[in-house]
């Protein structure tokens, strides 16, 4: 069932894309791989569970609360943990992101225990069948919500003042500041958007697989990172395409009989990209850095 696999792949890929965007936007501006980004996604899922428990049956409220909660978290992490190190070496900053990642995971383990919990049933599941095809309402919602969020992101980046400042800063950080752009504000905004998208991904995946756990962000984060590299790190449409492609690769890989190696597919892909086209599909030649 080619078309069925295609739908499944797109659904999975859309969630990778939502997470990948945060990696790529932050990298685009401060050349940092934020390894705590996958954990923001995880926290988003947990906030979703908590809120869904309170306001049963309200999907959009749950989604919104998780996004807002993670905006606050992402911006705070940047402010408290990363900003003071902005002028120190790249490696120090990278290690700090790993530290933050471990902190968030451990924190959730202490709070909720290491085991996975289910997601309260806030969406009633209907499954449409057409011929041999199956599309669940959850899949449809994942696709629609992702589409709307990504379109919204494109509009912000293309047309708003802060979005243009983001693009300017990702092209040339110093020159952007010479325009009167407050770079710290742009960086906070970037973390805010990236975290909101990751939180949305967390809630959607939590509902889709009916499972939320403190370590769910590890593999999802790594895969989304691969998706960002696949599309060309720093490139926003690249992250979207990279995410979707990775989802498709995985689903088709499993369908082709490599289910044991499901998680390895992403990393095999990473190795291939790095060998064949290190700048990714839409990546530009190595950036001029002065």
């Amino acid at each position: 069932m080619l078309i069925q696999q295609f739908i499944n792949g797109l659904t999975l890929g859309a969630t990778y894309a939502l997470i990948a965007l945060g990696y790529t936007m932050v990298y685009g501006i401060i050349q940092l791989i934020n390894f705590a980004h996958g954990d923001i996604y995880m926290i988003g899922a947990f906030i979703g569970v908590a809120v869904a428990g309170l306001v049963s049956n309200n999907f959009f409220l749950t989604l919104g609360a998780a996004m807002i909660g993670c905006v606050a978290l992402g911006v705070t992490i940047e402010r408290v943990a990363y900003r003071p190190l902005r002028r120190s070496s790249r490696l120090n900053l990278l290690i700090t992101t790993i530290g933050v990642s471990i902190f968030l995971e451990t924190f959730m383990v202490l709070l909720k225990g290491p085991q996975a919990t289910g997601f309260p049933p806030i969406l009633k599941t209907t499954t449409w069948r057409l011929g041999g095809l199956e599309l669940s309402s959850i899949q449809l919602i994942i696709l629609l919500v992702s589409l709307v969020l990504m379109a919204g992101l494109q509009l912000i980046v293309k047309y708003t003042k802060i979005g243009k400042a983001m693009r300017a800063a990702s092209e040339d950080y110093d020159t952007a500041s010479l325009m009167g752009i407050n770079i710290n504000r742009v960086i906070s905004f970037t973390f805010a958007i990236g975290s909101a998208l990751a939180a949305a991904g967390g809630v959607l995946v939590g509902i889709y697989f009916n499972s939320v756990s403190p370590y769910m962000g590890v593999m999802a984060g790594l895969k989304a990172f691969v998706a960002a590299v696949l599309g060309g790190i720093g490139n926003i449409p690249g992250a979207m395409i990279g995410g979707l492609l990775l989802g498709l690769f995985e689903v088709f890989g499993v369908a082709a009989g490599f289910s044991t190696y499901k998680d390895a597919i992403a990393f095999a892909l990473l190795i291939v990209i790095l060998l064949v086209r290190p700048t990714g599909l839409l990546g530009r030649p190595i950036q001029r850095k002065v």
Partner: protein
């Protein structure tokens, strides 16, 4: 208008500026000339807040700006056109100009600034929807200057605006700089092209390996044998 007092700037252990002082008075064009590596760019980057001096102070319109961030300094009306133009290549000409007007408060102010810039640089109006990276070198320099004018600066820092341009364009750029100055903007001009810079400047400073070795009215410096020999190629 700008007063730089004894600033020292270092990159790690390399001391790029060794306690230099200079002033720029309102309405002047002051040239800062010197060979490659003398510290001209470092000077401008320190004034605009991109670099922090180890020692010394910088005053702009009587206010100390030594520790302010670049965006705060731009908001005070002091704008820096960086070396090598540095236009945002993947953004359109219009978007570049919008970035230049980032500190603009109102739509009306933006429109008025845009109109003035388009008047001065009609080429930019023709190409407003084109990506800046596709412009020629001369056009990019016009864009870099036009972009800086969008913030309606009272003072401009220009870093080698003639770099890499054909002689005819160099002349054009310098005459534009002169016009901008005559319209009321104070200018600090950094140049390796000493002859052109001295021809439009009121006063000048000569920078050599991080120290100011000569200063005076531009016309006088032009006559000094050591300047003629080292910087005017005679």
């Amino acid at each position: 208008m700008l007063e730089v007092k004894e600033i020292s700037v270092a990159y790690g252990v390399i001391e790029a500026l060794k306690g230099i002082s200079f002033t720029v008075r309102e309405g002047e064009i002051v040239a800062l000339i010197g060979a490659n590596g003398a510290g001209k760019t470092t000077t401008l980057r320190t004034v605009s807040g991109l670099l922090r001096p180890r020692k010394g102070q910088i005053f702009y319109q009587g206010q100390e700006i030594t520790r302010l961030s670049p965006h705060q300094i731009v908001a005070m009306g002091l704008t820096h056109v960086p070396e090598g133009r540095r236009v945002f290549a993947r953004m359109t000409v219009m978007e570049n100009l919008e970035m230049g007007a980032y500190t603009c408060r109102s739509r009306a102010e933006f429109k008025a600034n845009l109109e003035r810039v388009f008047q001065r640089f009609p080429r930019l109006a023709e190409r407003k929807n084109q990506l800046a990276g596709t412009l020629s070198g001369g056009e990019q320099q016009m864009l870099a200057i036009g972009r800086a004018l969008m913030s309606r600066p009272r003072m401009l820092l220009l870093d080698e605006p003639s770099m890499g341009l054909a002689p005819l364009l160099v002349r054009e750029v310098f005459s534009i700089i002169k016009e901008i100055n005559e319209a009321g903007t104070t200018i600090l001009l950094v140049e390796q092209n000493a002859r052109m810079a001295l021809s439009i400047a009121h006063r000048a400073y000569v920078l050599q390996t991080g120290e100011i070795i000569l200063e005076g009215p531009a016309a006088e410096l032009m006559e000094r044998p050591e300047v003629r020999k080292a910087y005017l190629g005679e």
